[in-house]
Structure formats: structure tokens, C-alpha cells
């Protein structure tokens, strides 16, 4: 409706609003990028744009296992935890969306409770349990809790997606002579795939971002993830501040995610809002 009656004043107004939003979102990110390109001397100059540009901070962090090993851990732990939790969540979400069974609302209530859980309340007991079971400072020691916290997110998002699938198609395929397996692979799986991709993205982002458990359940680079490793990055010598390297590491863990988010933005928005709006 607005398109018909656009006045120049409206155009300027919305244009300003747009610019403000984009600037507010980007300036803190650009500041980090700028820091990561500053030389150790220039770090102590508060100007927004580096006077001299250097790649040395990136060379430094990418040549030390203090950062590269956690980066590898983050990718591995994130992918495995995402895979397991999306598989388990799809099974549960299928049941929630399609089947009638007692205890369904209990399941939903339970996953909501876990989604709202203060993670710190679990850090104390899990720390103690993981030490007893030998899971402390290992990949499974982080994967298992990440799966558990990915499940509520997965179940909510996926059951919202599964409700939208026209399941009569499955019956139609069977009438046409398809086996149940064929009906699933040829008809239902392609329809369910977008929801599963979306959910995987959201769960992976949550794992990638997680910090509290990552610093609590790890003690060396054997399992420490990238966000937790930032605090352990030191300057090139003990007399230099590690600002540049830390900023470079922060950019390294941020940029791929930003590209990822931008590439899948429609899916992410759909996933974030699916559970919240549709009832």
C-alpha cells in the first residue's frame, strides 16, 4: 500500500532508518576486523582505521596449536553434536507431529524445561560426573551435553516443519505401488529436508557459540573449543599485548559464521520464527 503513496519525505525517513540499522549492526564487527589488522604498536592507537595494515596477527594465530587445535575441535564437536541431535530430534518430532501417544505433552514440557535451563546449574554436577566417568576434557564430554541442549531446539523447530508436510502424499505413493521405504525416501524425505537443514544450522550455531560448558569441561587443547581458546592466546612475546592475535582469532571464528548466516538467512529466519508463531 505504501508503494503507491511514497513521498520523498517517507523515502528519506526509511532510508535513514535503514542506514542506522546497518551501521549499528556492522560497526562493532568492523572494529574487530580493524584491530586484527593493526600492528602491535598501532594497537595502542585508538583510531578506528589502522594506520598500518598487517597480516601478522593472522599468521601468528594460525601457526600455533593454541588456536588451530581448538578450531579443529570446534568444527568436529559441532558437526558430531549437530548430527546426533538432529537425528534424535527428527525421530521425536515426527512422533510429536504425526502420532498419537500418551506422554506427548510431557515430552514437550520436558524439552521446554531444558531449553530454559540455567546451564550453570548443570555445570557443577556434570563437572563432577564427567571427572568420575573419565569424560572430562574429551570430545564426548562436550558432545553429550551439546546434544542434550540441541534437542529441545531441534524438536520444536522440526515438529513445526513436520506439521506443514502434506502427509497424504505418502498414502498416495503407497496406493501407486510404492513400498513404505520408497514412499519415505522419494516423497517425504525431500519435503522434510529443508526443515532438517534449517534445524542443523541453528543447532550448529548454538554449539559453535557455546562458551560456559566449553571452559568448564576442558582443561587442555585436547577438547577445548575455539571460543574457549581466545582467553589462552598470548602475545608474540610476553611484553606485547595479545590484542591483535585475539582480535584475529575472533575474526577467524566469526567470519565463516557470518558468511554461513548470510547464505542461509532465509532458512534461519524461517527456523527461528517457526516454533514461535505457528501453534
Amino acid at each position: 500500500m505504501a508503494a503507491v503513496t511514497t513521498t520523498p519525505r517517507q523515502k528519506i525517513g526509511w532510508g535513514t532508518a535503514n542506514v542506522v540499522v546497518v551501521a549499528l549492526a556492522l560497526i562493532p564487527v568492523l572494529w574487530m576486523v580493524s584491530l586484527s589488522f593493526k600492528t602491535p604498536a598501532a594497537v595502542l592507537d585508538p583510531s578506528f582505521i589502522p594506520a598500518q595494515w598487517t597480516w601478522s596477527n593472522y599468521h601468528e594465530i594460525l601457526s600455533t596449536a593454541t588456536f588451530t587445535r581448538p578450531l579443529f575441535n570446534s568444527i568436529g564437536i559441532g558437526l558430531i553434536a549437530t548430527f546426533i541431535s538432529v537425528v534424535l530430534a527428527s525421530m521425536a518430532a515426527y512422533a510429536v507431529a504425526r502420532l498419537r501417544f500418551p506422554g506427548k505433552s510431557l515430552l514437550i514440557g520436558m524439552s521446554l524445561l531444558i531449553a530454559m535451563f540455567p546451564i550453570i546449574a548443570l555445570v557443577t554436577p556434570l563437572f563432577s560426573i564427567e571427572r568420575a566417568l573419565g569424560l572430562f576434557n574429551t570430545w564426548p564430554g562436550l558432545i553429550i551435553p551439546y546434544v542434550a541442549f540441541g534437542l529441545p531446539l531441534g524438536i520444536y523447530t522440526l515438529s513445526a516443519f513436520f506439521r506443514e508436510i502434506p502427509w497424504e502424499l505418502e498414502k498416495a505413493a503407497k496406493v501407486d505401488g510404492a513400498t513404505p521405504f520408497q514412499a519415505f525416501v522419494r516423497v517425504i524425505a525431500p519435503l522434510a529436508a529443508p526443515g532438517m537443514v534449517t534445524t542443523s544450522i541453528l543447532v550448529f550455531l548454538a554449539c559453535w557459540n557455546e562458551f560456559l560448558m566449553a571452559i568448564s569441561f576442558t582443561s587442555t587443547t585436547a577438547a577445548r573449543t575455539a571460543p574457549a581458546s581466545l582467553a589462552y592466546i598470548s602475545g608474540s612475546s610476553q611484553f606485547t599485548v595479545p590484542t591483535g592475535p585475539i582480535a584475529a582469532a575472533a575474526v577467524v571464528i566469526t567470519i565463516p559464521i557470518i558468511i554461513f548466516v548470510l547464505f542461509f538467512q532465509r532458512r534461519i529466519v524461517a527456523g527461528l520464527t517457526s516454533g514461535a508463531v505457528k501453534g
Binding site: 505504501a2 572494529w31 502420532l99 501417544f101 531449553a115 513445526a160 581466545l230 501453534g279
Partner: protein, 315 residues
């Protein structure tokens, strides 16, 4: 039908209804079994990681249990809770947490609503806005925290330089303001996207009709948009509140809880990993859990936020 007979026959010998109950149709029974089977793995993982540990945490919180003194583990009842509740540190941390939560959620709600309106109504560049808004959402909290930390460090940061080389992270309330700012920046997009979804459910015709009747934009917003969006707003606020109440990452990087900026989560963490006191740490954890349950109950019972079972909300 069968339920009817059962209620009528309640006084009769229990055999009849007991025998009738399991007589579901074969299909319904298979469906029920499949449903349980499919949910079992998820339920087992969630119980193992959250259910059992919370029970274990309750047990730990009743012990005197310091990792430095492993020989002196002893059941001491509620003494840990007494120690925590008598400690000014707990009450200060709770005050800091509530302050951060209330201010950041209130500001995020207003900014998120503005962002949602811009995303919904803007005449051009809608895609660009959404793209830009997703950046703070996607960024790793800790990475963003370092950005804010350096920006507010005197001699290094552009923000500090803009405010006469001030060092806000060294004084309690200025540091809390910086923490709140970092929280708002990170979480406004999430709020905005949830509200945008609610906004798209407000029928356009209603807006037009009100406009014809002479309602101003302000009136239309308060009389039409907000009431219709109330469920979406409440769910978004509930999730943001609970998320904000467990704030940890930003404080850990920005101040490490120094200068009186400890949140309850930081306090619990310090007791566990710095003082190695599992008993006190567990008691604080349980108290945080109780706070979260109270917040959720107030929202769901008090404000009528859509009940969780209606698969309305997620994080």
C-alpha cells in the same frame, strides 16, 4: 462412549474398566508403541544430561564438599543454603543479574520492536536490513565481547577515546552499563525477528480500516498491533528474560566479575572453579534454578504467556 461407562461404573468392581482400558485397537497400540520408541532416545539423553545431574546437584548442595579437602565430605543439611543466603555476595550478584536482565530485556524489546517495524514496513532494502540484523545474532558472543572490551579500554579503544579516555569497566555501574550494551547489541536481532513474525500476523485490512476511521499511526500501533501481537511479545520476552538471567559469557570476558559486576552464574562458577567448593557451588546452582522456575511461572500463570505444551515457544 467407553469413558462414559467407566465413570458411571466407578463404584463397581475395578475389574471391568481395568480390562477394558488396554483394549485399544491394534493400530492405536502400534502407534503408541512407535511414538514411545521414537521419543525414547531423545528422552534418555535429556534425562541423562539434565534430569539426573539436577538431582545430583541437590544432593551435592547438602554436603560439605570442597575438592581441596576431599577427606572432609560430610552431610550438613541446608547449611550451604544458609551460608549463601546470608552472604552479601549472593544478594549483590542477584541484584546485578536482575538489573542487567530488566534493563536489557526492556531496551531490547523496544529496539526489537523498532527493528521489526523497520523490517516490516521499509520501502526498500528489506533484504539488506535483515542481512545486517542477522550479523549480531550469528556472531560468537565471546568474540563480540572481546570487541567491546578493547573498544572500552583506554588508550586502545575508539569508544573509550570518544568519551575522554574513560575506563568504564573499572567502576561497577559503568561496567554494568557496558555489559548491558553488549547484551542489547547481541540480542536485539533475535527479538526483532521473533516480533517480525508476530507482526506479519496482524491483518493489513484492520490497519487500513483504522486509518480510514482517522486513527493516527501511534493509535494504530497501540490499539491494533500491540494487542494482536501480545502472544508473540510475551513468548519473546519470556525467552529473552530467561536467557538474560543466566548471563555469563559477556561478563566473563568484559570484567571477569570484578568490581562488583558478578552475576549469579559467575558467582556459582567462581565458587566451583576458583574456590573448588562443590557444595556451595551446587547450592547457588539450585537457587538459580529456583529463580528461573519462578520467572517462568510468573510469565505463564501471571501474564498468560502461551503454555509451553502448545508448542508455542522455543529458544
Amino acid at each position: 462412549m467407553s469413558t462414559h461407562t467407566e465413570t458411571v461404573a466407578a463404584g463397581a468392581p475395578a475389574e471391568a474398566p481395568a480390562r477394558r482400558k488396554p483394549q485399544l485397537s491394534e493400530g492405536a497400540r502400534a502407534e503408541r508403541r512407535l511414538g514411545w520408541l521414537l521419543c525414547a532416545p531423545a528422552v534418555i539423553v535429556m534425562l541423562a544430561v539434565a534430569g539426573y545431574p539436577i538431582v545430583y546437584a541437590i544432593w551435592l548442595s547438602l554436603q560439605r564438599y570442597n575438592l581441596e579437602l576431599p577427606n572432609q565430605v560430610k552431610f550438613i543439611g541446608l547449611a550451604n543454603y544458609g551460608a549463601v543466603l546470608r552472604s552479601p555476595y549472593w544478594w549483590h550478584a542477584l541484584w546485578v543479574t536482575v538489573l542487567i536482565t530488566v534493563v536489557s530485556v526492556a531496551v531490547t524489546l523496544v529496539l526489537g520492536m523498532l527493528l521489526a517495524l523497520v523490517m516490516h514496513r521499509t520501502l526498500f532494502g528489506r533484504g539488506t536490513i535483515r542481512t545486517a540484523a542477522l550479523i549480531p545474532y550469528g556472531i560468537v558472543t565471546v568474540a563480540a565481547s572481546y570487541g567491546w572490551y578493547y573498544a572500552w579500554t583506554p588508550g586502545q579503544g575508539y569508544l573509550s577515546a570518544m568519551f575522554n579516555n574513560s575506563a568504564p569497566l573499572t567502576s561497577t555501574y559503568k561496567a554494568i552499563a557496558v555489559i548491558i550494551l553488549a547484551e542489547i547489541w547481541k540480542t536485539t536481532p533475535f527479538m526483532g525477528l521473533l516480533l517480525l513474525a508476530g507482526l506479519s500476523l496482524v491483518p493489513e485490512d484492520l490497519q487500513k480500516a483504522a486509518k480510514v476511521d482517522g486513527a493516527t499511526a501511534w493509535q494504530r500501533f497501540w490499539r491494533i498491533t500491540v494487542p494482536l501481537m501480545k502472544p508473540a511479545i510475551l513468548v519473546a520476552v519470556l525467552f529473552r528474560t530467561l536467557d538474560s538471567f543466566r548471563i555469563f559469557d559477556n561478563i566473563f570476558i568484559l570484567t571477569q566479575g570484578n568490581n562488583g559486576t558478578e552475576s549469579v552464574s559467575i558467582l556459582a562458577w567462581d565458587n566451583l572453579f576458583k574456590a573448588l567448593n562443590l557444595g556451595i557451588g551446587a547450592a547457588i546452582s539450585i537457587l538459580i534454578f529456583i529463580c528461573v522456575v519462578i520467572i517462568a511461572a510468573v510469565f505463564i500463570k501471571g501474564f498468560g504467556t502461551a503454555a509451553p505444551g502448545a508448542d508455542t515457544g522455543r529458544r
